[in-house]
């Protein structure tokens, strides 16, 4: 039996070493100072900075010359399914992760492969979403959240495993897809598995040793503050509040802002109460993990509207004063302005819908708590339609904030709904346990709608809407990147295009057709004085599944090609 355990629990791994860092090139260690003030030429973390802006200050490529942008190299990952990670770049070295937890190190200027890490997943393993959303860099290591809920530290120069730490038992439904977050010598991860009835948490590990430093559950245990919001015994144990997207970080107050998923199972009447901290933003102390504050977007959730997207740290004007704020377009279709208090607290300021939504009758101006239209709240044995549907006004793809324009750019979807009812199901650990089967989702769209996917923009100070881009024949599943060159880059459409828009006017200035469709975030960086824009094209996961439904509903293309390719562009010389 011991032999059995050792052969299965230790998931074998493989680092395929090529040249490693060529010619003895120096790798520049990543420090806290560099993460706090990242150099414009680098893209050191998933969203470019701790504030989560998805913004590059680089401006060599700009709205006047972007039409000259051309591919300079590509790299086939050799992997299928949904590629959702941005290229992470540190002084000329690029790290991309792929579905099934692979990491590829590349020369960011030439595309030469330096090394590749392939995680061997355990026998019988499966995950609802097999994607990965990027690596984290710290010191001279690369950190990967393995799909099988194992955190892996790799040597940035060679790809060799420095350590592995099991975060959770995948057989119980936990898995990991987000990019880790580095906070002062610690590597923070969250977990997916809400559809399987897990209890979410954020856990911090020592960057050197891989040992756990703190672990904070996103659902309180009995006796802890908030536990009285789980009124039915034991529902908290399987209540969801997964933590499947990376948080953002405020170094000045050492506060981590991390989003949580909806409740499990999906139907609130099976877990009466507000169900803290489902569909919330948590404010956690970076050093201890202690919960400083929270904001819950909707209580006793029924719509699969995770609040997994951590808010961006954006300072905006309000009543003539600058507010240290949080800005977040949520899956529930509302755009929120929140306050970052000096003690790490979160205050509600205002919310407004950014897509049509029929569930909230209103949002309390003081607390931010929505008043629910019960006609649009599904329940156990109670069929109800709600719009936007379960994929929300936006799903996980990143919005972008440009400090240059003062605008937020939101990849959105509209004119779609779901209608379902719940049933009570017996839970089998590691198996789907939402209370509704996929064929019974009754996803629908308005067939006469003039568009479905869109980019919406708003002034962060006034909330006034700006330009829009409407996609008549596609949903929008692409993260956006704004740049100092007054550009917004993004893919996200089923026509395989990668596009650049004028950040001020929304005019489409450039496009490039890629191998697959793009659901990964773009990034920008500079090597030897040349600005590059890079993105992975590789369709899959929910975008592809939704597309199969739309092929039946609207006749859209059912088989958008899959397979990952890293595309890197620069101005033609």
């Amino acid at each position: 039996m011991q032999k059995l355990l050792s052969s299965t629990c230790l998931a074998a791994t493989l680092a395929i070493g090529l040249a490693g860092l060529a010619h003895g090139a120096e790798y520049t260690p990543v420090t806290d100072a560099r993460l706090t003030n990242p150099e414009p030429q680098n893209w050191l973390m998933t969203r470019g900075n701790y504030q989560g802006w998805s913004y590059s200050p680089l401006d060599q490529v700009n709205s006047s010359n972007v039409r000259g942008l051309t591919p300079v190299w590509t790299f086939s990952t050799g992997v299928d399914s949904g590629h959702e990670s941005p290229p992470i770049v540190n002084n000329g070295v690029m790290f991309v992760s792929t579905p099934y937890a692979q990491v590829i190190a590349l020369d960011a200027a030439t595309g030469d492969e330096l090394w590749r890490y392939k995680r061997k997943l355990p026998e019988g393993f499966s995950a609802l979403h097999n994607t990965n959303r990027g690596v984290a860099l710290y010191g001279d290591r690369v950190y990967l959240a393995g799909l099988d809920a194992v955190l892996v530290a790799l040597d940035a120069r060679t790809g060799k495993v420095a350590w592995e730490t099991k975060v959770e038992d995948w057989k119980t439904g936990y898995y990991m897809t987000m990019a880790p977050l580095v906070v002062k010598g610690k590597i923070l991860v969250g977990v997916a598995g809400g559809e399987f009835g897990v209890r979410g948490f954020v856990e911090a590990f020592d960057a050197d040793s891989g040992k756990s430093v703190w672990k904070t559950y996103s659902i309180p245990a009995p006796g802890e503050p908030g536990s009285n919001t789980w009124e039915k015994p034991d529902t908290w144990k399987t209540g969801g509040a997964s933590t499947w997207m990376t948080g953002n970080y405020d170094p000045t107050t050492d506060t981590v802002f991390w989003g949580t998923g909806n409740g499990s199972p999906w139907f609130g009447d099976q877990r009466p109460g507000d169900n803290l901290y489902t569909s919330s933003t948590l404010a956690l102390d970076g050093a201890t993990g202690k919960l400083k504050s929270y904001f819950q977007y909707q209580q006793n959730e029924d719509w699969d509207w995770d609040a997994m997207n951590a808010p961006m740290l954006v300072d905006f004007q309000k009543d003539g004063a600058t507010v240290n704020g949080l800005l977040t377009p949520q899956r529930n279709g509302y755009l929120y302005w929140l306050q970052r208090k000096s003690d790490g607290g979160i205050g509600f300021l205002k919310a407004q819908p950014y897509v049509a939504q029929n569930v909230f009758k209103s949002v309390d101006a003081t607390t931010g708590r929505p008043v629910i239209d019960m006609d649009h709240k599904p329940g156990t044995g109670k069929m109800a339609q709600f719009c936007p549907g379960l994929w929300g006004g936006k799903d996980w793809p990143y919005e972008s904030y440009s400090p240059k324009t003062g605008m937020v750019y939101i990849p959105s979807n509209e004119n779609h709904c779901n209608k379902f009812e719940g049933k009570v199901e017996e839970r089998v650990p590691g198996q789907w346990w939402t209370g509704v089967a996929i064929p019974d989702f009754h996803f629908s769209v308005d067939p006469k709608a003039p568009f479905y996917g869109e980019i919406k923009t708003f002034d962060v100070n006034t909330g006034a809407p700006g330009w829009r881009q409407l996609y008549a024949h596609s949903m929008m599943w692409g993260s956006l990147l704004s740049t100092g060159g007054n550009l917004v880059f993004g893919g996200g459409t089923n026509d395989r295009e990668f596009r650049a828009y004028d950040a001020t006017t929304g005019e489409e200035l450039w496009h490039s057709r890629t191998n697959s469709a793009i659901i990964a975030p773009p990034a920008s960086y500079e090597v030897n004085g040349v600005q590059y824009v890079a993105v992975q094209s590789g369709y899959g996961v929910d975008a592809a599944y939704q597309e199969t439904l739309l092929s039946e509903l609207l006749g859209w293309q059912a088989d958008v090609p899959q397979g990952g390719v890293v595309w890197v562009y620069a101005l033609s010389k």
Binding site: S7, S81, P99, E123, A437, I438, P439, A544, Y545
Partner: protein
């Protein structure tokens, strides 16, 4: 905009779940063997050996694991997860009928797409459904795919009726598990 010499990505699919069960010396991880019986994983008869009369005619399916004649539950490998359903023999395709025991049919519950458990039932379509990405299989016709991304049918586990109890008659009809890159 695609430049010369830019290659499209090959979609590399490699079987990763097709290996034999974990350890030859662990009977709980062995794949189903002839003579094994089937045991409910869930429901009011959880842990009990499945008999045809325990199953509602026409579905839904139940999840099960095989159990050896000497009582070892073969749940040591997730690849041994089964779905069992009782259907009108007149509704079955010839191959499915040949694999059935008094209308009881068993398939691998591991989706051939990405290995998720096929644990949902569409009452509307009377079909077995994978909860991960909606692959929908016809239990009457060799678990052929009707919808979704799975590349091939679910492997069938041939059964025979012995003393009124469905027993495993032979190994799976195809290799187990999903595809991944």
């Amino acid at each position: 905009m695609m430049g010369a010499g830019v290659a499209l990505a090959p979609v590399a699919l490699a079987p990763w779940l097709a290996r034999p069960a974990r350890a030859d010396d662990d009977p709980s991880a062995l794949h189903p063997q002839p003579g094994d019986r089937l045991v409910f994983l869930t429901g009011p008869k959880k842990g009990q050996i499945i008999k045809p009369e325990d199953l509602p005619l026409g579905g839904p399916q139940f999840q099960a694991y095989p159990q050896s004649p000497d009582g070892v539950l073969r749940d040591g490998s997730r690849l041994n997860l089964l779905i069992v359903i009782r259907l009108d023999p007149a509704s079955l395709s010839p191959t499915t009928l040949a694999n059935a025991a008094d209308g009881v049919v068993a398939y691998s519950a591991v989706c051939t797409h990405q290995g998720c458990p096929v644990n949902a039932w569409s009452e509307e379509k009377k079909m077995m459904v994978c909860s991960c990405h909606g692959s929908t299989y016809d239990p009457r016709n060799d678990a052929k795919l009707l919808f979704g991304p799975a590349p091939r049918p679910l492997p069938a586990l041939p059964l025979k009726l012995v003393a009124g109890v469905p027993m495993v008659a032979a190994g799976f009809s195809a290799r187990l598990g999903g595809e991944t890159a």
